[in-house]
């Protein structure tokens, strides 16, 4: 009798995990330090996602484990990923703001077979390092090719590129130059400014002397893009007939400091907080509810959509650890995001998404916003997918 009682109790104990299990998702993000505005955006957008869609999916509770990585530190990134996998026993990894950190985590993801969703790091080649990695942000190739097309569509035939001299900058320059020249344009010069440059006056004077129709820029957020935009305005390049085209330089985090010098500047990017859709308005509203005062730029939505992918993978694997099934479910998945329609490219595992043409203007309350004025639909990552020949 006692034996059956013990057996019965043991069986009941085994049922417990199957009924109410918790799936842990490890997120490595800059929550403190100079890039804390990025990690904090993800904290807010993930909270918003869980508020709208619930903290559990199909009976599996999803718990996010946060690890703070405040700067570029690949060895620490790898250590944090290992800790998450071994100690916290996460089923999925997310986050990763910087490329070198993502590269380091790729090794862990590949060895431990943990599906990893990159919320930001934008260098195309990261996804080559592990077959278990996906990305829910954008790459420079993805926005630079439509930028070249935009320039050609606007009848701008000559250009100068001005990029910060590091990975993403070179990606942007390469992609733009290739697409622009293939479409019949001429790149007069490609300037690479050292990453620490804050005073772009000399570069702008040089560009003014060359008189291109367009200057295509890339700079990381913060002092560099402040310097680029101020330099462009102060050198009178707009009046001299040199148009501006960029990608993430008019970040909502920097616009208040840059001020009116940013008015009228055009950029090509995958998300603007004033994107006109019902889902986006719900997203923005919920983010303000869960984390009042959060300023969103194009980085925050990567966390939101990353969670959507993770929830989808959990659903497909029924909460079980099954990396192959999870990746199979993610590849080719299409869904609606606050930024617009999204699809995960089954081959490159990058996003296929709309790239919008935006212009900086003032909204009703006088704040600077990136207003969408055009769309290049469903662009893949041209860094790893060859661009179709321009007509």
């Amino acid at each position: 009798m006692k034996r059956y009682l013990v057996a019965g109790l043991l069986s009941l104990a085994c049922l417990a995990p199957a009924l109410a299990d918790t799936i842990r998702v490890g997120v490595i993000a800059p929550i403190s330090g100079p890039y804390s505005t990025m990690g904090k955006q993800w904290e807010a957008t993930i909270k918003a996602y869980q508020k709208i869609n619930g903290t559990s999916i199909d009976g599996h509770t999803v718990e996010v484990v946060w690890k703070d990585l405040s700067d570029i530190n690949p060895s620490q990134a790898k250590a944090l990923a290992q800790e998450l996998v071994i100690k916290d026993k996460v089923q999925y990894l997310g986050g990763l703001y910087f490329t070198p950190d993502a590269m380091a985590v790729a090794a862990v993801a590949q060895e431990a077979k943990i599906p990893t969703v990159i919320f930001n790091a934008g260098t195309s080649s990261i996804l080559d390092k592990s077959e278990y990695m996906l990305r829910t942000s954008n790459t420079l190739g993805q926005v630079s090719v439509p930028a070249a097309r935009r320039a050609l569509d606007q009848n701008l035939h000559t250009a100068v590129t001005l990029v910060a001299d590091y990975g993403p900058g070179m990606d942007a320059e390469t992609a733009f130059v290739k697409a622009f020249t293939e479409g019949g344009g001429k790149v007069l010069e490609s300037i690479r400014a050292p990453l620490k440059t804050t005073d772009f006056g000399p570069f702008m004077q040089r560009i003014k002397a060359e008189k291109p129709d367009l200057v295509y820029v890339f700079g990381p957020g913060g002092p560099q893009t402040y310097g680029i935009i101020k330099g462009y305005a102060e050198a009178g390049l707009k009046q001299a007939g040199v148009r501006f085209l960029g990608s993430g330089e008019t970040s909502e985090l920097d616009l208040p400091a840059i001020g009116d010098a940013a008015l009228g500047l055009e950029t090509m990017l995958h998300y603007s907080p004033v994107h006109p859709s019902a889902l986006n308005e719900k997203f923005i509203k919920t983010v303000q509810e869960v984390a009042p005062g959060t300023i969103l730029n194009s980085v925050g939505v990567g966390g939101y959509d990353g969670m959507a992918v993770i929830y989808h993978m959990i659903q497909a694997t029924r909460g079980q650890r099954d990396p192959a099934k999870a990746m199979a479910a993610a590849k080719g998945w299409e869904w609606e995001s606050p930024r617009g329609p999204l699809k995960i490219d089954p081959v490159s595992r990058d996003l296929i998404q709309n790239v919008y043409v935006r212009v900086v203007g003032k909204d009703a309350s006088g704040r600077l916003r990136n207003r969408e004025i055009g769309t290049y639909p469903m662009q893949p990552d041209f860094g790893r997918v060859p661009a179709p020949a321009a007509k």
Partner: protein, 289 residues
Amino acid sequence: MSLELVGNIALDSVAYAMILFMITIGLSMTMGLLRIVNLAHGAFAMMGGFLAASLPSWLGTSTWVSIVVAVAAVALLALPVERWLLRRFYGRGELDQMLVTIGFMFICVALANTVFGSGIVSVPLPSALQGSVEIGPRLLQKHRIFVMLLGLAVLGILWFAVERSSFGIKVRAAVDNAAIAQAIGIDTARVYAIAFCIGAALAALGGIVGAELLPMEASYASKYLVLFLAVVAVGGQGTLFGSFVAALLLGGVETTVKYLLPQVSSIAFFLTMFLVLLVRPQGLFGRRV
């Protein structure tokens, strides 16, 4: 090399150099005078910038008044820093001084991050300095002209003060031989304190007017520390003209290379420092130790 290009290079070099000069002259003087390695010097420039950015909204003062008040406030804030923090370390080894000042710098950076966030803070320019004037074919921003004139004015005033005023004599005496200076009745402690505060005030001024070229943000003090130290190292510690010439040299080299070979402009800056120190380890005008 057209005349226009040379003109552009010259104008931009001098503007950049004047900002470097104003920020680093205080550091050079305190390193030469107090013989203390103060790695937190950039924090005073940062304090000046943040105060100038915030006072218009905090107190409703005009931009000119805010700048003056910010500089004065930093000078006052420097007083307790010198008295209660640095003074304890005057005799101690350089490593100790570096550690305490770098710790102070990290505290300032973290405080700025907490109060102002980690983004860029725009330091408002007075309306008289906004906009540009046309000088020949070049559109030159008014504030760059102001910075150049201000730098020259600061050089002139400081030279006059050091060479001609009684305070200047005391400073020079204390630099040359502190023990003898004390023996003949100069209150060296007071001289140090005043000199430190003036240096901090100049750093604040440089940070404020230079905010268009070196944008103000929470990590300003740590980001540009190497820049400031390079200028002091190249010029020599404790010399007025050393800082001025070093700023012109380094600023000029960097700007020229930016125009001609953009990719290597920051390499050029540090290569120049390297070469100068190789030939003259004490700096251009520094005294051989």
